[in-house]
Structure formats: structure tokens, C-alpha cells
């Protein structure tokens, strides 16, 4: 509903401000990426870069590998996520609240740390590999597709689990009872009523897995070795030490963003007409099952969740062990941390400072945007809603490249400084803060604001003095989420960082390439600490917003 006078101005002003920000720091850089892909050195239009990329067996393989990894991860994450969600929603599995809290942790843990854990355990010189070798057993390789898909599956399955769980819980008990009352068996009721109702949530989550897997830089960076992967090749082409090719990087970027945008649009179009699950007045009861089934479900749930956290736990444990060169000696000590921080605390301080700035900025920008999206329906807000979800679809590497090209000369020059990193993080994480803000606003009765306005406070003052305090809990949750994910950010950081503004993630990636696994493990542990701990602290706050954060 449109509103007259200052109320409309307030909404319009926010929309335009947000569009201006995203236009300048998302669309404008992307435009440069697109332009660089269709221009030759003289600036004339050409599709040579596309021809070059698409006629190269290597780059076509790169596109194929990335899509295959995305599709497989999507399928596997669904195969894990849906049964897990069902067990957590409907079976008496012991420790369900804790399980649920733990299951949402992998989403914020840096996935390339998970990949690194795999290398540490099963890599060429991995601890398990070495142990097996000493027993005369040859272990298979975890490098390449298998390892990458494993890591994606284990770190991204919460994207399916959380919305599906919310879906199962939002189905009113009477639905299933009605089906059973009409003569359906439990399985028939699940197949014909329950599953169709939650299917949109499953698919929405699965598509997010696909998108995340497609644009992920860190995991292939650790596990691909020489195999081609899209995000990796884009970075190599753009910033490669030998013979950078910006046009080819641009062409691959356009292909990557094209794939993810199509996926995101599919997801939106699919969801737009399928919102079956409404708030349940009465949640469905737990299903009584035999001891054996309960045991099986318990083993499955705890198994999956612990398995997904195991690599991270292993890294933390290993980080406290002493290394002699590359060889683990199983003597506890803090040597790795000393070595890591010996150089300077700078990367750690950078990470904390950049993430904090990004979290505050994303919240300040995202809260009003989320508010407008939740309250107002107009053409401007429809555009804003699409543009504000776009960062999900734009790979961090591509955004980084765009920002570099757009702000390298002329005015303003941002490359090489801290601001460009903060800008990249804010753009990348804006969907998170927007969604958490609008989830909260949806829970605030609009009549409250109307009451305030009719009592004499202007819409802007009403927003600041009434709505913001009411939103505070949700905003804090969203802010922590931004902070945590910005701390673990690698795909845009790797393009944008400078030696003065090195972050923990960059340092970790660098120490991976070196021969100091202990320091890498220490860096990884610090990242795990700074991402998992805050999330678990505000877990209660976030849970109230349900699956809407995804």
C-alpha cells in the first residue's frame, strides 16, 4: 500500500539510497567486467575473448567441473538435509536443540578451512594417509572432484536443512491428521501432503547450495590442484603471475555470474507462487517409533552433524600439536600460534577491524532496506528486492575484479586500501542483513507504526524511535551473522587485499602453499574460533527468525 506525503518520501528515499549504493558498488563494477570481456585492446567491440574461452578445452572443462560440482553438491546436500530435517522435526532424537545449534555452524565456518582439514588428514602428506601408508595401505586421493564435493556437501547442507526443518514445523498438525483421517497411511500422507508442502523450501535451499558451490573460491583453491575450476581460473587469469588476460577473465566471469543469476531467478520464480507453509497453530507431534528406528535416526543425525564438524575439530586439535618442519610430532604446545603471530598481529587485527566495520555498515544500510521491503510494495521496492538479492548470485571473485577495474584510477581510487575490502564485504553480505531485518519487521504489527504516526511522530522519527528499538534483537543477530561471514571471507579478499591489509584468510591460504602446516592450522583455528563462537552466542536470537535468513 502506498502512503502519502512524508511517509512515501521516507520509503522512497531509503530505496533510492540503497539502489545508489548497490548501483555504484555492485552494478557499476559488474558493468566494467562485462565491458572488459567484449572489448579488444583498442576498445572496439569483440567477442574474441568468448571465442577463445569457449574453444579452449581447458576452460570448457573448468565450466563443466564447476557445474558438475555444484549439481552433485546440491543433490548430496539434499539427500542429507531432508532426512535430517525430518528426523529433527518429527522423531524423538536425543539432544535435538544442541544438534540443531551445531548443525547451523558449518554455514558460517570458512569452507576452505574444511577443505584444508581434509588435506591435513587425507592429503599427500596427511596424517591419516601417512598412518595408512605405514601400515601398507594405499589411500585414494581426496584431491579433485571427490574432495571438493565432499567439502561442499558437509559445509553447505545446512542451507537445505534449515529451511526444510522450518517447513516441516510450519505444517499444522491438522493437515496430516486430516490426511490420515481420510484413510492415508503415514507414508502415503508424507508423500502426498507433507512433502509437497515442504518441497519449495527444499528446492530453495538446494539451489542456494548450487550457487554457493559454483562461486566458491577457497575450496577449489585448496583441493583442485591442477584441475580447472571456474572461480579459480577467473582469479588466475585476472591476477596470474604469468600473462594476465583480463578479457578472458571477464568472459569467464560473465559465464559464472550468468549461471548463478539464472539459478537465483529460477529459485525466486519458483518460490513466488509456492508458499504453502504457513504458521502452524499446532505443530505436528513426534512420531512414535520403535527403539531400533529411534537408534538408527539418532545415529544418523549425530553422525552427520559430527562428521561435518569433525574436520574443523581435527584442525583445532592439530593446531595445538608441535610440528617438526612438515611432520607432526604429537607433542602439545602453542608453538604454531607463536610462529603464526611472530611476524605480526596485523592480519588478525585487520580481519577483526574490517569485519566489524562491514557488520556495522551492512546493518545500518540493510535495516532500512529490509524494513522498506517488508512494508512497502511498489515498483521501486520490487527493483530493490531483486538488486538486494543479487550479491548472492555474484561470485566474490568477480565482484572483486569488478571493483578493481572500476576503482583503480579516476575518482575515487579505492584499490589497495581498506575501504575497498569493507565495500566488498558490505555488498556481499547485504542480503543477510536485509533478510534478517525484514524477517523481524514482518513480526512487527504495522498498526504500531501507524499509531505512532497518528500520535504525531513523523515516519522518519517513528522508524528511529519506535521501529528500530523493536527491531534491535533481530538486527543484532543479523549483524553477528555478517561479522562472522565477513571474517571468513576469501573469494573477494584474495582479489582486493594489499600487503598492508592482509587478512587471516589470506594468510591461511598463503601458509597452505608454504611448508608450515602447523601455522596454517593455527590460522584456521583462530578463524574457527571467531566464526563459531559468536554464532553460538547469538544462536537464540537467530533461531527466532527461523529459516528466513537463508
Amino acid at each position: 500500500m502506498t502512503r502519502p506525503g512524508s511517509s512515501g518520501r521516507f520509503h522512497g528515499g531509503i530505496s533510492l539510497l540503497a539502489l545508489a549504493f548497490l548501483g555504484l558498488f555492485l552494478l557499476y563494477p559488474l558493468w566494467f567486467v562485462l565491458r572488459s570481456s567484449v572489448q579488444d585492446e583498442a576498445g572496439a567491440f569483440t567477442l574474441a575473448a568468448y571465442a577463445q574461452v569457449l574453444s579452449s578445452r581447458y576452460y570448457v572443462g573448468s565450466l563443466g567441473n564447476s557445474l558438475a560440482a555444484g549439481a552433485m553438491s546440491m543433490a548430496l546436500a539434499s539427500l542429507i538435509g531432508v532426512p535430517l530435517a525430518f528426523c529433527l522435526a518429527r522423531l524423538d532424537v536425543p539432544g535435538r536443540p544442541l544438534l540443531l545449534a551445531l548443525a547451523s555452524v558449518p554455514i558460517v565456518l570458512p569452507s576452505f578451512v574444511g577443505a584444508y582439514a581434509l588435506v591435513l588428514l587425507f592429503g599427500h602428506a596427511g596424517i591419516v594417509t601417512a598412518a595408512l601408508r605405514s601400515m601398507g595401505i594405499a589411500a585414494g586421493s581426496i584431491y579433485g572432484m571427490a574432495g571438493i564435493v565432499t567439502v561442499f556437501t558437509l559445509t553447505l547442507y545446512p542451507y537445505v536443512l534449515l529451511p526444510t526443518l522450518a517447513g516441516f514445523r510450519a505444517v499444522d498438525a491438522s493437515m496430516e491428521e486430516a490426511a490420515r483421517n481420510l484413510g492415508a497411511s503415514r507414508w502415503h500422507a508424507f508423500r502426498t501432503v507433507l512433502f509437497p508442502i515442504v518441497a519449495p523450501s527444499v528446492l530453495a535451499g538446494a539451489l542456494l547450495v548450487f550457487i554457493e558451490a559454483l562461486e566458491n573460491f577457497g575450496v577449489p583453491a585448496v583441493l583442485a590442484e591442477d584441475r580447472p575450476f571456474l572461480a579459480l581460473d577467473i582469479f588466475k587469469l585476472f591476477a596470474g603471475e604469468s600473462d594476465p588476460n583480463v578479457a578472458a577473465a571477464g568472459a569467464l566471469s560473465v559465464l559464472l555470474v550468468g549461471c548463478t543469476v539464472v539459478m537465483l531467478l529460477l529459485q525466486r520464480a519458483y518460490l513466488a507462487h509456492r508458499r504453502f507453509a504457513t504458521n502452524a497453530r499446532r505443530g505436528a507431534a513426534l512420531i512414535p517409533v520403535s527403539r531400533r528406528w529411534r537408534l538408527l535416526a539418532t545415529a544418523f543425525c549425530w553422525g552427520v552433524v559430527l562428521l561435518s564438524l569433525l574436520p574443523f575439530a581435527a584442525v583445532v586439535v592439530i593446531s595445538f600439536q608441535h610440528f617438526q618442519g612438515p611432520v607432526l610430532s604429537w607433542q602439545p604446545g602453542l608453538g604454531n600460534y607463536r610462529n603464526l603471530l611472530k611476524g605480526s598481529y596485523r592480519p588478525l587485527a585487520n580481519t577483526l577491524a574490517l569485519a566489524s566495520l562491514a557488520a556495522v555498515a551492512a546493518t545500518v544500510l540493510g535495516a532500512p532496506v529490509g524494513y522498506v521491503l517488508a512494508r512497502q510494495r511498489s515498483r521501486v521496492s520490487a527493483v530493490l528486492s531483486i538488486v538486494a538479492t543479487m550479491p548472492f548470485a555474484v561470485s566474490g571473485t568477480v565482484l572483486g575484479i569488478g571493483l578493481v577495474i572500476a576503482f583503480n584510477d579516476g575518482w575515487p581510487v579505492l584499490t589497495g586500501g581498506w575501504l575497498i575490502l569493507v565495500v566488498a564485504y558490505v555488498v556481499r553480505k547485504l542480503p543477510l542483513s536485509v533478510r534478517s531485518a525484514s524477517a523481524i519487521v514482518h513480526q512487527i504489527d504495522p498498526a504500531l507504526e501507524e499509531a505512532s504516526i497518528s500520535l504525531g511522530l513523523s515516519p522518519t522519527r517513528t522508524f528511529l524511535t519506535l521501529t528500530v528499538p523493536l527491531m534491535l534483537g533481530g538486527l543484532a543477530g543479523g549483524m553477528v551473522l555478517v561479522w562472522v561471514t565477513a571474517t571468513a571471507e576469501i573469494s573477494s579478499t584474495i582479489v582486493l587485499y594489499s600487503s598492508r591489509w592482509t587478512t587471516m584468510t589470506v594468510m591461511m591460504l598463503q601458509s597452505l602453499e608454504g611448508t608450515a602446516p602447523g601455522e596454517a592450522a593455527a590460522a584456521a583455528s583462530i578463524l574457527i574460533l571467531f566464526t563459531a563462537a559468536p554464532l553460538l552466542l547469538v544462536y537464540r536470537l537467530l533461531r527466532r527468525q527461523g529459516g528466513s535468513l537463508l
Partner: protein, 355 residues
């Protein structure tokens, strides 16, 4: 004290004219009710007066001041919402003081006026309780005090009682009416409950599809509905399709439902199709001592005992259903074949031209 004038006010949503050129004048100190089924435009019209919905064309006046272009927060309107909209993050006192703070009233005046407003709605002064500790009725009182305290030009009520249980609803509507009268405030009241509208209003406007169907006092609206829609909406009347026959100078004979009815006045030209509205309570059971007039034979189908009242569901000779309400004490024993004789007053039947 402010009169309100609506002048050809229009609002459309897509292709639907939610408010279709409505004009009305509400006198100072009057309680004016917008009544109608959901989707008739009554809430939209109220929100336009409050400033939450755009006025596409036409104008709204408070006294001689045109206000439809004034932003909502400068209209000095007190609005009571269906959901009460009591701020959950403020105490009762802070809620009531909210509008005074916005107007930068001095601290001492705020305290006095808040206490005064709380007293008006019979809540204790210095009320530091939180909204989640209050019952629905108490929340409603807070919402009303919060409006009264700013001395609004007009009071707007958006189905304020629909979230209360039946008994409290009756109690609160008496209290709202008493407050509004004693303070002399001009009020517009939106409801879909015809009984509530009849009980509380000085005048009622019955709305249908964005237009005013009829405006009048509760008595006029109930006794002399101008259209079949109003008749049907105001209490559950029997609407029966019939064909007019001869006019004998005082009454018209109408064939309807397989029976012949006598209707006072000229109901229509002979052969014209008419809709008859017969209120259930205007019919009597034959055999009652005070009954006199034309009779009607119906077949009893179902009887509902409602305590003070007895509602009978019957059928006219051709099967058309008809309802009759009588005082509960009278026994209504049909003949062995199920026939029941009713007596009616030709002056109580209203005929409308059939569409």
C-alpha cells in the same frame, strides 16, 4: 469539536474502486459508523481520513481546513486500532504519554494529563505495567487513553472490539459511547457487526462496493432500509422474490413462495417482479392473543431454542425457506402434518423492485 466533510473521495487498488466517490458530512460531536461487509471499502475510507492511504481524488475537511494533503502525523487524529497497537516496548504510562512527548509537552503537564486520561478509562494512575501483562480489555483502554490524551480533532475506531469476547465487547462499547459523548468528540467508527453499529451510533452509513448504500439513524436504517441489500445486511431478514398483482387502494397483493402476501402501499405495477423483505420478528404465531392480520401457512422444519427467543426455520408452500423469531415462552406446536399458521402485518413488509 470538529465536523468532518468527505467530498467525492476516491481510491482504487488496481482496477477495483475500493472507495468510489464517497461524500458525507459528519456533524460535530457525532458518532458516525461505517458499516458493511468485508471489502466494502470502510477500512480504506477510515485510513484515508487518518492519512494512511492516499486520496486519489476528492477532498477531506476537518471543519474548514482541508486535510487530505496533510501528512498523517500532523492531522491530530486519534486512532484506535483493531489490534490495539499498544507499543510493547513501553509501559502503560509511557504509551499514553507517547503523543504528548511527540508534541514536546512539558514533563509536569505530561504527568497530569496522563493521569487524567488513565482515570477517564478507569485505569490506575502511575501505571508502570508492561503491555504483555495486560488483558485485551485493558489494552483497549490504554489504546483509547493514548488517543484521548492528545485532545484529537477527531477519533477514529477501526473495528476496536473485534478481538474481545462477547461480554467484554458489550461492556466496552457502552464505555466508548459514554466517553465520546461526554467529551463531545467527533468520531468515525468502522465495524462489520450490525448490532454494534445499531447500539453505538448517532448515524450509520451502510457501505457496499465502495459506495454508500444508505445513511441514517440506526432506527431509520433498521426500520426503513432503502434497498434489499441494506435490509438483508441489517439483521437477518427474509428476502423473497415475488410478482406484484392487484393494488386495492391500500395494499398490494404479491405472489411469492407459493403464497399470497398483502403488502401495504403500491409495491409495484401488476406483473412486476419485486423482492419482499419480511423481518423474522414481525411475524406472530396464530393463536397468540394480540395477533390480528393476514395469515400465512408454512411448514416447520427446524426449531432453535435460544433462551429468551425461539427461532423457527420453516418453508413456504413452494419450499422457499423463511425464518420466524418469537419470544421463547410461546409454544409453537405445528399441526399433525407439520403446518404452522403465521400472522403478519402488511405494514411491516417492504417491497423492493427486483433487479
Amino acid at each position: 469539536m470538529t465536523a468532518i466533510r468527505l467530498d467525492a473521495v476516491v481510491r482504487t487498488f488496481g482496477s477495483v474502486r475500493a472507495v468510489d466517490a464517497i461524500s458525507a458530512t459528519i456533524a460535530e460531536g457525532e458518532l458516525f459508523t461505517l458499516l458493511g461487509p468485508s471489502g466494502c471499502g470502510k477500512t480504506t475510507l477510515l485510513r484515508m481520513i487518518a492519512g494512511f492511504s492516499d486520496v486519489e481524488s476528492g477532498s477531506i475537511w476537518f471543519g474548514d481546513q482541508r486535510i487530505d494533503q496533510v501528512p498523517a502525523h500532523r492531522r491530530n487524529v486519534g486512532m484506535v486500532f483493531q489490534s490495539y497497537a499498544v507499543f510493547p516496548n513501553l509501559t502503560v504510562e509511557q504509551n499514553v504519554a507517547y503523543g504528548l512527548r511527540a508534541r514536546r509537552v512539558s514533563r509536569r503537564d505530561i504527568r497530569d494529563r496522563v493521569a487524567e486520561a488513565l482515570a477517564l478509562v478507569q485505569l490506575p494512575a502511575h501505571n508502570t505495567r508492561w503491555p504483555h501483562e495486560l488483558s485485551g480489555g485493558q489494552l483497549q483502554r490504554v489504546a483509547i487513553a493514548r488517543c484521548l490524551v492528545i485532545k484529537p480533532a477527531v477519533l477514529l475506531f477501526d473495528e476496536p472490539l473485534s478481538n474481545l469476547d462477547a461480554q467484554l465487547r458489550m461492556h466496552m462499547r457502552v464505555e466508548i459511547r459514554r466517553l465520546q459523548k461526554s467529551l463531545g468528540l467527533t468520531a468515525i467508527y468502522v465495524t462489520h457487526d450490525q448490532e454494534e453499529a445499531l447500539a453505538i451510533s448517532d448515524r450509520i452509513a451502510v457501505l457496499r462496493d465502495g459506495r454508500i448504500e444508505q445513511v441514517g439513524t440506526p432506527e431509520t436504517i433498521y426500520r426503513a432500509p432503502q434497498t434489499a441489500f441494506v435490509a438483508e445486511f441489517m439483521g437477518s431478514t427474509n428476502i423473497i422474490l415475488g410478482v406484484a398483482a392487484g393494488f386495492d387502494g391500500s395494499a398490494t397483493t404479491v405472489a411469492a413462495g407459493g403464497a399470497m402476501f398483502q403488502v401495504r402501499g403500491r409495491a409495484g405495477a401488476p406483473g412486476a417482479k419485486v423482492l419482499l423483505s419480511i423481518r423474522p420478528e414481525t411475524m406472530r404465531l396464530a393463536g397468540c392473543p394480540d395477533a390480528g392480520g393476514p395469515t400465512l401457512a408454512v411448514r416447520l422444519q427446524l426449531r432453535e431454542f435460544l433462551g429468551p427467543l425461539l427461532r423457527l426455520h420453516a418453508a413456504l408452500p413452494d419450499g422457499t425457506p423463511i425464518r420466524v423469531v418469537t419470544l421463547g415462552g410461546q409454544g409453537a406446536q405445528p399441526a399433525a402434518d407439520g403446518t404452522l399458521n403465521l400472522i403478519y402485518d402488511p405494514g411491516q413488509i417492504i417491497a423492493y423492485p427486483a433487479p
